[in-house]
Every structure is written in structure tokens, then in C-alpha cells.
């Protein structure tokens, strides 16, 4: 049964019964507070589960007069279910998977975690003020056809694709209900701001040298808060830790930091805040769409909320869109 309705009580109980299997993102919890049992483990962004702040990728040691290297298995990342909002799901499925599971080179550590992480997309029905998913081609009910999807509907919870009966049998959705749902979805989508024009990435790219970047970047203090909490930002650093025995670490890195592109020769292709802010906007709104066909921003708005100086990516993008005509 691909589509069903379950009561909030059953839903809450099913989750509470296996609460150690479930995790939830902070944003999703904010929206679904009333449907969920207390005490689920809350994480900031989905990426910290599958692409953690730091992890060892391989170890090395000097033993018996020779060096050895061996990979670090991510090992027992047991199957888990993560409740998250559509924007966050999109960040994982499109952007993170797109980068780390690209078919020519698959990141093994990422893959080991990702294959055991099942996403449960919670349809976003009270849309937070800070987000803007429709601008970047998403919507509050976005899911890829195969995801487990939940949405409050007429006092019950509408569930899609629950193949393992995680939330019980439920009752089937009849034709009229299905129609009501579809109409609602259409209405919801229509009420949101339209997406950025399809030629936005090209136009933005063409305006790489514009003076406006200086104005746009003045306020930014070049910390990495936005990039570290962004659900899509996947840039990382590899560094070596330890001398005779140690490991190579994969850690989050940020295009906001001067060292990100600093050459050993001390030349830096992105020497000031202007270039770094431009890189962040361009990477998300021009380079990734041009290269891979998806935006590097899912419009969740977390960077707007946490920015110490209220440097606002939505404002910037809308201003650029207006400026580019």
C-alpha cells in the first residue's frame, strides 16, 4: 500500500516504541512537535550524521621498520530513520549524494553511513518565515518518488511509501481524499513565490566581475557559521594528524576561510571577503546548476537565522535576480 492514513496516536506510539531508531532534525522538530514523542535525539542538520564534522579516513603507523596504511571502516552505523523537512531531504538526496556518491568515485565512509540512513520526509505545513524553498525549485511538500513521506491531513497523518509498515497498517486513501490532497498541494505551491528564472545561473555567471559584489560582501565577517550549518555545504579538508602513528582526517571546511584556497607559494586566488562571498553565492547558484543541474541551496534559511551579522542569502539572490533583470 503506497498511500495510507494513520492516526496521530498510532504514529506517536509507533515512533515511541522504537525511539532509539529515530532521529530528528531541529527544524523538523520545530514543525512536528505535537505529533512526535518526547526525547528523540535531535540533530542540527542531516549532514552531521552522514558527513560528520570530522572523521578519520585512513590510519598510518610506523611499525617494524616500515610504514603501514589501512582504511578506517565506518563500521557499525546501524540502520536509522531520520525525520527531516523536504528541504533538508533535498539537500541530502540531490546535493550530498550528488557529490559523495558520484559514480566514478564513491566516498566509502559516506556510503557506509548513507546506505543505512532512511529518510522520512515530513511535509512542511506551517512554513517558517525564514525559508524560501520555492525560489530554488523546491516546495514544502517535496519528496522524490521513493521517499517515505508524512503530512498532517484532516486530523490524521497521510503517509506515502511506508514499505516496511513503520507506522502500522493505517487505512487506505480513497479517491476523494486523494483529490483533496492534490488540490491542496497545488494551492500551496501556487501561493509561494515563483522560482528563480531558469537562466539565472548563466546570468549570474556572466556577472562575475560586477562591482556589486563588493557592496554585497561588506557586511560579511567571513566566519564559517553559514557553511557549517548549511545542509548542502559539502566542502571538506583532508589533513594529517600524528607523526609515527596517526590518521588522515576529513573535516568540514569553508570557502569563507582564507586558508581554503591558499597556495603553498602564499598566492591566494580568493584573497579577500569579496571573492569568498562571491564563491559561496556562485557555487550554490551558478556553478552547481551549470555543472550538475541542481542548485546548491535548498532554501531552508538556516544561514539567514544564524548569521551573526544578518548577511542574507535570500536577499542577496533576490537582489541579484532583480539586478540581472
Amino acid at each position: 500500500m503506497a498511500k495510507k492514513l494513520v492516526t496521530p496516536e498510532v504514529f506517536r506510539k509507533k515512533v515511541a516504541d522504537q525511539s532509539d531508531l529515530f532521529l530528528i532534525t531541529e527544524r523538523a522538530q520545530g514543525v512536528y512537535h505535537e505529533f512526535l514523542p518526547q526525547g528523540l535525539r535531535v540533530i542540527k542538520t542531516p549532514k552531521e550524521l552522514i558527513f560528520p564534522e570530522w572523521e578519520g579516513v585512513y590510519r598510518f603507523s610506523f611499525q617494524d621498520r616500515s610504514w603501514k596504511v589501512w582504511e578506517i571502516e565506518t563500521g557499525d552505523f546501524s540502520p536509522r530513520f531520520l525525520f527531516l523537512l523536504p528541504c533538508e531531504a533535498r539537500a541530502v538526496i540531490e546535493v550530498l549524494d550528488g557529490n559523495f556518491l558520484q559514480k566514478d568515485y564513491i566516498d566509502k565512509n559516506y556510503w557506509q553511513r548513507r546506505k543505512n540512513l532512511h529518510l522520512i520526509v515530513l511535509g512542511c505545513y506551517t512554513i517558517p518565515k525564514t525559508c524560501f524553498c520555492s525560489l530554488v525549485g523546491g516546495n514544502p511538500l517535496w519528496r522524490d518518488g521513493r521517499s517515505l513521506f508524512v503530512l498532517p491531513f484532516q486530523g490524521e497523518l497521510y503517509v506515502e511509501n511506508d514499505e516496511t509498515m513503520l507506522f502500522g497498517e493505517g487505512k487506505s486513501v480513497d479517491a476523494r481524499e486523494e483529490e483533496t490532497l492534490a488540490t491542496r498541494e497545488e494551492e500551496l505551491k501556487a501561493s509561494l513565490p515563483p522560482p528563480l528564472p531558469s537562466d539565472f545561473p548563466q546570468k549570474l555567471y556572466a556577472h562575475f566581475d560586477e562591482g556589486i559584489w563588493k557592496d554585497l560582501s561588506w557586511r560579511c565577517i567571513n566566519c564559517g557559521a553559514c557553511t557549517f550549518l548549511c545542509p548542502t555545504c559539502y566542502c571538506f579538508d583532508l589533513s594529517v594528524e600524528g607523526r609515527l602513528r596517526g590518521l588522515t582526517l576529513k573535516t568540514w571546511d569553508s570557502c569563507m576561510f582564507p586558508r581554503f584556497t591558499l597556495h603553498a607559494s602564499s598566492h591566494n586566488p580568493r584573497p579577500t571577503g569579496k571573492e569568498r562571498v562571491r564563491q559561496r553565492v556562485m557555487h550554490k547558484f551558478s556553478y552547481l546548476p551549470l555543472r550538475e543541474g541542481y542548485y546548491g541551496c535548498v532554501g531552508c534559511g538556516i544561514c539567514r537565522e544564524i548569521c551573526p551579522v544578518n548577511w542574507d542569502i535570500r536577499e542577496t539572490v533576490e537582489r541579484m535576480a532583480k539586478y540581472l533583470g
Binding site: E53, W54, W218, R219, I221, A225, N310
Partner: protein, 312 residues
Amino acid sequence: MYEEEIRALSVKLLDEVEGVIGYSWGTLPFRARPFLCQKKEDVTHLVFNHFCGSNLARYLLSGELKEKKIAILAKACDARAITVLIREGQVKRENLVIVGIPCYGMVDRKKLEERFGPLQPQDFEWHLDSLTFKGENLSIGPFLEATCQRCLHPNPPLYDHLIGQEVTYIPRKRWNNDALTKLDMVSREERWAFFAGEFEKCIRCYACRNSCPLCYCKECFAEMQRPYWLSGAATPSENLFFHVGRSLHMAGRCVECGACERACPVDIPIALLPCKVEELIRGNFDFEAGIDPDKEPPLLTYRENDPGEFIR
């Protein structure tokens, strides 16, 4: 607050300076943000209110403005930071027009949310040291940020123009709520449990460092390759190293503005560390940063009878 005065003064000042660094409303409610006003028609964006937390002195160091004549809006903390920057040779006094603003403290959005639930701007009216919520008048004290509640210097020590009237009381005495004392009271194990939890949260985004007006090192020890002090991994021990190292580097320089704490995206009360160091300096070396520009900073001087019992 003071908007008319600030705007009128800015129009005048723009005749002689390249720009006025001040605040404008942000893109989200209850947020003001740094704003560089370079045209007279833009002065209408300038505002001042209880959400103008960012320490503007930080912007004096950005390459573009460093050698230009600039006017800057300065709360007490900003003015103190500017004093330190001048003393350390980072900015030239003659390039600055300092517009001082006596400050009643900055409001912590989270404390408002705790008390009033989801916030609507239209429910609030703001006054110098009080607020009106749906007609009810309340003291501002309980809603101030932790660093503002323990503030000892509400009036700027250095300015060319002063907006409004000086604050006549010392906030720390009035609000009697020092975050440090609460921690001083508990046992060492409890304090460790608390800090260990906080260091666990840190993602080392360096928002604290980058929002600090006095963290201007060209290359921070945290990002140095040689010597390689720290890895990029945000593990609790490395985070502790970073924050302790930073606090000690700020010793005798920190003006306790709380910019670091305000900037933290994961809500670590990180100003506790540098503030503790300043408290130690205040008590033992009789010094406060950015108050008296002629007084020798505490780590550049000594007294023969400094505390030394801890040394065998």
C-alpha cells in the same frame, strides 16, 4: 531610539567622511545589522535599538576602510574596542569620527521568546530601559544579554559627538546578575561537566573570532600550518584548546562586549571565558581594557607583589 539625532548628525558628517558605520534593520524581525552609509539619501536606513549588538569596531579593520576617514557609531563596548585598536596601532584616531551612544544594553531574542512565545514585532514597544508588551510595561533588565547584564561601563569612554544622555547607573549593580558568579559557586566537577558539554557543541566556525573587534591577527593560531597548533577537527579537546588559547590572547584586551557569544550559531555562552580572564585581571592587576588609553596593558607590565603563591 535616537534615530533623528543619528540621521541628522550623519548627514552633516558625510560632508567630511567617506562613510558612517552604523546599524540598519535586518531582513528578519528583531534583528539589526551593520550598515555602511555612504550616501546622504541612505541615512534613513540608520537605526539604533536594543538589537544593535554587533561590535562595529570590527569593520574599521576591513581593508577598504582602513586608511579612510570614517565616522562610526559607538556604544560603550565599541568605543572601548576602538580605544584598544588605537592603542595597538591598528587604526588612526585622526581618521575617526566617533559618535558615542550611551547604551542600556542589548536584548536577547531567546529570552524574549522564552517569555512571550513566538514574537511579533507589532506587540512590542521599545524604550531606553524598558519595553511595552501589549500595553504592559516591563523592565528591560531580565531580557538583556548575559554580557550586558554584567556590564560595568554603559557610557562610551571616548567620542567626538555624544547622542542622548549618559546612563546614570551601572547595569551590573542594578541587574545583579553575573553569569560568572553563578559558575563560581558550583564545584569544579560541575563546572567541567558544563564546559565539556559546551565544547562538545562547538563546530569551530570561528564566528566568535571573526565577530570580535580585537581578533585581527592576519593569521590566527588556530589556522596556522607552522607551527601546527590545532587540527581542523572540532573535537572537544581541540575546541577547548582554541577557546582557552583565544581567551588568553585576549587577556587585557577583551572589552567584554559579548560579540563572540552573540555570534555563536550553536548557542555556546563563549564570552564566559574571556570575561573570566578580564575579571581576574580586574581583581589582581587592576586593569580594564579600553578605558584609559594611557594605562599600560596588564601583560606588558608587572608588579613585584603580583600573586605568586601558585608557584612552588
